[in-house]
Structures are given as structure tokens and as C-alpha cells.
Amino acid sequence: MAGIKLENVDKIYAGGTKAVNGLNLDIRDGEFMVLVGPSGCGKSTALRMIAGLEDISGGTISIGDRVVNDLPPKDRDIAMVFQNYALYPHMTVEENLAFGLKLRKMPKAEIQKRVLEAARMLGLEQYLKRKPAALSGGQRQRVAMGRAIVREPQAFLMDEPLSNLDAKLRVSMRASLNQLHERLGVTTVYVTHDQIEAMTLGDRVCVLRDGLLQQVDTPQNLFDSPVNLFVAGFMGSPAMNFANAELVRGDGGASVAFAGYKLPVPEKIFADKPGLDGYFGKPLILGVRPSDFDEASNGNGDWARMSVKAEVTEELGSEINVIFMIDSPPVEHKDTAALAQDAGEEEDVTALPLAGDKSMWTARVNARSHVRPGDSVELAVDTNNLHFFDKESGLAIGHPANR
């Protein structure tokens, strides 16, 4: 096992497109690192460069102590799991698993032992004599995983391995992946566009956008203190609510004013976010996570109140997403534009224009609430978790990385 180190790695395609731009990443030995970002952000390219399937245009990649820039894929001692499984269709499951070992001239008995071990670990024993065409999607995915495991490589590289599975299977495979990593402890680099996968699987998550590294941190830290508007909007579902706001000083202390609402800003936030006090009287962007809302009757006593009119409610069983309009035009920033574009690409819808100069916010409330569309709701907001971003740069104000 070994760590993987990327130093100032560039990928420039013919025609000048820069897919990866000066990427620095230090993946520790045994770590589960997730590369996440919208499509076209360079995450797959970065992974393929580590694998040796793409040339490196600039910088160095090292696995363990070896710089691998000029090593062919087979000499890098890594195994990869592909999105489309990439099983050998003319071989049985057993032959698929054994192929890499055979090419490495391993003795037959050892191959047999490793294949059986991997098959047992992945529950594939009864399918060993079958061809991939006779397997379901989930089983094929497990074979692909097994092919990586038997090799006992320095690192696993996984390129959206779960995205071809249906939703339910994806959740259970996610859990097995977690278990597997726990058990084998092999350094893993995992590429996904799904932020839930990123949050649940990663020891650390690396958010990329247009080939540029945005932020690397543990999932919780990414969620709690995103470095800029892009990361804030990308991580978390439903996405963070944004509004153009102004910081004002009143009688009872500081507060943030937006769309006719005024929320008090606790002193603690100013202590946590140095530099925020310089924004009094200046426009900035306010961010509130849907999960920092609740119905006033359930909310904590000292949370701030907002009364809104529910336009749409999404009942998810365990909670309700209340969607309401606030009287302020949607935040326009290059970061939020990139997010909207990405969402449009995946779901094939662009935001409906019915909002006009209002913006849509989402609040997540307890399922015991009986909010119906059209109802007026009194919401409580946890003001300790307000996020503030610079209007020009989109950077989080007072974030350690931006100081």
C-alpha cells in the first residue's frame, strides 16, 4: 500500500482545452479520497492520469515513493474499477478474476486461492462459472470489484463505479464499499458526480471545478464550512439557499437584512469569521442550509423567526421540504451559474422562469409538521450556522483558506 501524491498536475488536450489545472493533492496511505464535481470538471481525467491511461501534460504524480509519470499502466501496481464494469465478455467470472494474476505469472495454486477468497468476500462463489452476460448489474459490479481486489494493488482507482446501478442497489453497494475499504484498508481514489456518494464514502473529499481544485476536506467540514459559493451550493441536498443581503448594525446587535427579512447575527459568528465585521453596510451573499430551518413550534427557543408562505411541499416521509419564495432576485454569480448549468445538464431541465424576480428557497422541517402548499408557516432559523460570501469573489468570508 502507498499514498498517492499529485504535484501541479496539468492536463492539456490537443486544441488547448485545460482539463486539469495545477492540481495538488496528497492522498494518504489507506485513505478513501473522493473526487467530486460536476461533469467536465476534470475528475475522471485526473483519475485516468493516475492510472496511466492519459498522458500527463505537466507536473508529477507519485505512487508511494516512485514518480510514475512515464510508467505504463501495468507497472504502476494499481487496479481500476470502471463505470461500465469493463469485464472481459468472453471469459467466465473466474477467468475474469484470474486474468491479471495469470499475466503476472503467479503460480496456479495462489491464483486459485486469491480468486476464491475474493469471490467469498463479494458473495460471488456460485457465479464463478458464468459469463458476465448472465449476471445482473450489481453482480457485474462486484466482479469488477473482485478483479481489483485479487490483484492486491497499492491503490484502487474507481471511476463512478455505482452510477450504472439502480438507486436501491447503489445504496447497498455504497455500504459494502465502505465495509470493504474498512477491511482491506487500501488507498482508494473514487470519482463521482454524486455528492451523497462523496459525503458517505470519503474519508476526505476533493471538490473540483473546471479542472481547478476548490476544496479538500472531510465531508463534515465541507458541509459546515464551504470555501466558496460553488462548494456551498454543490455539497448538500437540497442545495444551500442564497440571497443578496446586507449586514446592518441595529440596537440589539448585528443583523443581516435580505428580501424584507432581518435575522440577528450572533457575536459568535463574528469571532469565527474574522473579517466579517468589515462588511457592515456592504452587500454580500447570505447562505442558509435547508437543514438549518425548522418549524417555529419545533425549533429551539433562541432561533430567529421567519414567516413565509409555502408554495410547494415535498413530503419525504422522515421530513418535509418546504419550498417558498423570497422577495429578492436570484443570486447571480459565476459560481451559482455553474451549479445551475450542471443541474440542468443532469436532469434536463432549466429553472422555470415563473419565479420572476423572486428566488426559491427550501426549508427542511420535521415530518410531524402538517404544512400544506399555500399555508403560512412560521419558520425558525439556526442563526449560528449562517454562511456569508463575498459578492465579487464568491469566497466564504472568514474561511481559514481565504484569510
Binding site: P73, F82, N84, F99, G100, R104
Partner: protein
């Protein structure tokens, strides 16, 4: 839909079936009948002579010579063409490795593709005339000219009975390879790139890649190629007719069945005997097709 189903199907089927019956099955049936007569193309009521034509055929040394030549063609043509075409298409499509998201061939592969396909565009008669000057037995021939440069006596490419058939096979291979390069290229491009990449990560070099991945996944295409080439091996009429010395010579050393049928029918006016030969050729081709499909049948590969 139920109501109009049969008229609909019959409407589509009628035209091809009628055409096939009139122009293929009809003549075949006639040939079977003519094969049992001593018709010479003139009398309105040919005399029925039973299997006499066939007994004479089986004692005819020229017939057996032609059959032996087909046997050789059947072995040499597919093996040579498929081997060469596979090598070329692998070099053109896969051997360059994975670049920018697709498998690529060696440098200049687009140019080579055109070069390889070019002979396919030439008419057989043209090819034959072209090779007549290449194979000329004196020093003015292209090949013998080269040999003369290194001091080797001129070779009778088409006049030496032991060499003539191989010279003709060489031309057939030269002309056929281009088409099969294109056919195999199409087959190779349908193999997912992921599979090659997975094999590369598993430690396969070019050689292993070809024998463990490309070849097995191309099996269906190979089978098609084998059948096509086998059928071509039972034909070879035009090239032998134009290129060989004395039409199938020297001394019948390059003759093939279609040529003998043509000679018997239109030179000697022995239509009955020629038809008997045609019937024999029909059964040879049929046997080959059935055997090939039997032997090579395997479960289909799904990606």
C-alpha cells in the same frame, strides 16, 4: 392489425420470393435436369441419359484437378487473408494505445487504410491485366526486374506449373485484404475501450491484448470473413480466366470448376456435361457452408 396481417406480410414477401424462384431456383432445377441429358444446346428435345454425365465426370482427371485446386484455395485464401487483415487492422486501430479517450492505431493509420482498401476498388479484369505485367516471365516483368537486379534468373511466375496457382492466390490475397481490414476495423471499434484499458491495467502488452481480448471478441466477424472467403475460393473464375496462361494453364495447373463449366458449355457445347459439373460445385459449396457454420458455432458474446 390482426386483420391485415397476412396480406401485409405476403405483400412484402411476394416480390423477393418470386424473383428468387424465377432467377435462382428455376435455373438450378433446370441445371439438375440438363445434367441428366446429353443436350448440346441445339435440339429442342434433349435425350435423357440418366447419371452417365456424372460417371464420366468422376473419371475426368481435369475435374479432379480443379477440385484439388479448390481445396488448396479453400485452405490458403482464408488463412492468408484473415491473418494479414487481422494484423493490419490491429495495427491500424488498437496498437497505438489509448489516446485522448479512444484507442488509436500506429502513426499514419488513416493513410494506410486508404492504401489497403484501394485494390478492392479495381475491377478483377484490371487487376489481372496489371499482374500480367508484374508477373511477366522475362526481365521486363516488375518482379523479375527486381530479381535481375540481385542477379536471380527470371522466374516463370505464371508459366511454371508448380508456381502458377500460388501466383494467382497471391493476387487474390492482395485484392481481398483491403476489404477484410475494413471489416475487422469495424468489428474492433465495437469492442469497448474500457475492456482494452482494463486489460492494460491488468498487465497485458500488445501481444496479449491481441490474443486474449481482440481475437476472441472478434470471433463473429472472423466467422463471417471465413464464409465469404470460402465462397470466393469456390469461384476465382474471372481472375483465372484473364490472368492465367491458356485459361487455367499451363497444362490445367490453375484451372477451377467455374472455368471448366464455362469451357465445356460455351467452347465444347457440352451443356449436359457442364451442368453435371455445376451440380457437383453446388454440392461442394453447400457442404462447405454447412460445415463452417457447424464447426464455428459458439455462444454469442454480449458486451
Amino acid at each position: 392489425m390482426r386483420q391485415g396481417k397476412y396480406p401485409f406480410i405476403v405483400g412484402f414477401l411476394a416480390v423477393p420470393v418470386i424473383l428468387y424462384a424465377v432467377f435462382v431456383i428455376g435455373p438450378y432445377a433446370q441445371a439438375f435436369y440438363i445434367a441428366m441429358t446429353n443436350w448440346r444446346g441445339i435440339t429442342a428435345n434433349p435425350q435423357f441419359i440418366g447419371f452417365e454425365n456424372f460417371t464420366r465426370l468422376f473419371e475426368d482427371e481435369v475435374f479432379w484437378q480443379a477440385v484439388r485446386h479448390h481445396g488448396l484455395l479453400l485452405l490458403a485464401l482464408p488463412i492468408l487473408v484473415i491473418a494479414i487483415a487481422l494484423f493490419f487492422s490491429f495495427m491500424l486501430n488498437v496498437a497505438g494505445g489509448s489516446k485522448g479517450g479512444t484507442m488509436t492505431g500506429v502513426k499514419g493509420s488513416a493513410f494506410y487504410k486508404v492504401v489497403f482498401f484501394f485494390p478492392q476498388l479495381l475491377a478483377v479484369a484490371l487487376v489481372a491485366v496489371l499482374f500480367q505485367s508484374i508477373y511477366r516471365p522475362d526481365q521486363n516483368g516488375v518482379l523479375n526486374g527486381f530479381l535481375a537486379l540481385v542477379g536471380i534468373e527470371p522466374v516463370g511466375w505464371l508459366t511454371n506449373p508448380n508456381l502458377a496457382l500460388w501466383s494467382i492466390i497471391g493476387v487474390m490475397v492482395w485484392q481481398a485484404v483491403g476489404f477484410y481490414v475494413v471489416l475487422f476495423s469495424a468489428g474492433m471499434s465495437s469492442i469497448p475501450r474500457d475492456v482494452y484499458e482494463a486489460a492494460a491495467l491488468d498487465g497485458a502488452g500488445r501481444f496479449r491484448l491481441f490474443f486474449s481480448i481482440t481475437l476472441p471478441l472478434l470471433w463473429d466477424t472472423l466467422q463471417v470473413a471465413w464464409v465469404y472467403l470460402g465462397i470466393a475460393a469456390f469461384d476465382a473464375f474471372a481472375i483465372v480466366q484473364v490472368l492465367s496462361v491458356d485459361r487455367g494453364g499451363p497444362d490445367g495447373s490453375t484451372t477451377v470448376l467455374p472455368l471448366e463449366i464455362w469451357r465445356n458449355a460455351f467452347t465444347y457445347s457440352k451443356f449436359g456435361y457442364a451442368s453435371a459439373m455445376g451440380v457437383a460445385l453446388f454440392f461442394l459449396t453447400l457442404t462447405f457452408a454447412v460445415l463452417t457454420l457447424r464447426v464455428t458455432r459458439r455462444e454469442r458474446i454480449e458486451f
